[in-house]
Amino acid sequence: MIKINQLTKYYGKIKAVNGIDLHVGGGEIFGLLGPNGAGKTTTIRMLTMLAKPSGGKAFINGYEITRDLLKVKKEIGVVPQYMNLDIEMTTWENLELHGRLHKMPKDDRRKRIQELLDYVELRDRAGDLVGKLSGGMKRRLMVARALMHYPHVLFLDEPTVGLDPQTRRRIWDLIRRMNNDGMTVLLTTHYIEESEMLCHRIGIMDRGQLIALGTPEELKKRVGEVVVETLNQGCTKYKFFADREQAVKYARSLKQNVIIRESNLEDVFVELTGRKVGD
């Protein structure tokens, strides 16, 4: 569904995205995980044709993003990380505008808007100005807008940033529901638990490069499924083991208190990049 070949983006001398290769299959939820400034948003902006690649190629459903512009635009739905609904228009009007921009016939538009308002549970707010909606409602409306023209691939850039836990779960449910209906989803996030809960596969990005790729389980196996934490002079050290037995053996050899636990994606991330998310 999405094929990326040595995709690169320079801003002057800065390599925002430095030659990434990736293949996302149909019906997959794929997550790009990485700290701020890793190049996740730039990657999505190139795939949605809001930024021009400096090098490399990318295909969406067989169409090359720089050549088959209009065809790619019909294939994809985009939910940016910032609210970019038209606040002077109502919920309904925002969807209507999107339908018109995609040249949908009138009857088709009506039907689709009704459908989507039910889908994202905003039917009773159809006539309200977008400025009056809460953050979670706006986010849901942005998802509905992106789905309006029946795209096959949905790009979500930081879909739950700045939302409260309840709203976040609701967005997650919505993403899973769309995926069950056959949608391929590519999302970026810097929330580790979000990628772990939601994504079939994860690509970890750091400094413009894709440094690890796999299912959450594969990634954990790669560094070791069990971790031993020791505290030395105020500095926590992590040591990874393939199973609990080895970890316990190691812990017994130490003359201090340790914590033995299962590793999580954050450990994977720290181990692979040598720093914490958000550094």
């Binding site: 930024a51 021009k52 635009k73 985009v78 940016p80 910032y82 970019n84 038209d86 921009l101």
Partner: protein, 198 residues
């Protein structure tokens, strides 16, 4: 001034001025905000519509507002007793003036990367034109080399042509070419800058 009163002289100039200001500012400010602040422009850029359509939509919307503003000034001028001739050519020149300055608004909004610099552009480019281009006083008394420069500016042609028509004369055909030339160049520039994503 040629025996006519100042109202007769200044009304066509003010109409040209308000056509320019309104069409430039409504397009410039809203598109610049849409691109940098509201980010709603991305909704249009990710839709399967051409850069040409995006620019045409903005320019026509700006032109319409410019024409409405000009009509209001014209109405007020009649209320205050100005005796000026208004015909088809008068409105065509207003329309072309609006069209070219709305196109300039698109170019400015797409290339200037902050709201502050947008207002700087208005202060250093649009505002001086308002005073130099024969709006409030004739440019005949200005030094020669400045006059040549001013003759190149579209607003000069707008106020001179509107004034000629208003006083019952023919307007210079070369002005029409100037309007068309600026319109084509600025509109094309608008399409290019919209197409050129970063």
């Amino acid at each position: 001034m040629n025996g006519g009163n100042y109202l007769q002289f200044v009304v066509p100039g003010i109409i040209a001025l308000s056509a320019m200001n309104t069409s430039f500012n409504t397009v410039g400010a809203s598109l610049n905000m849409s691109r940098l602040y509201h980010k709603t422009l991305e909704e249009y850029l990710t839709a399967p519509i051409s850069a040409f359509s995006i620019v045409l939509g903005n320019v026509l919307a700006g032109s319409l507002r410019g024409i409405l503003a000009s009509i209001i000034i014209l109405g007020l001028a009649f209320v205050f007793g100005a005796k000026i001739t208004v015909n088809f050519w008068f409105f065509l020149i207003i329309l072309l003036t609006c069209f070219l300055f709305a196109s300039l608004g698109v170019v400015a909004a797409m290339t200037i990367d902050s709201h502050e610099d947008m207002s700087n552009f208005s202060t250093f480019v649009i505002l001086p034109m308002s005073f130099l281009c024969g709006t409030f006083f004739s440019s005949e008394k200005l030094p020669e080399f400045i006059r040549y420069f001013i003759e190149l500016l579209p607003l000069t042609h707008a106020s001179q042509s509107l004034r000629a028509i208003a006083w019952g004369y023919d307007f210079p055909a070369v002005s029409l070419l100037v309007f068309l030339g600026y319109s084509v160049v600025l509109f094309a520039a608008g399409v290019i800058v919209v197409r050129k994503v970063k």
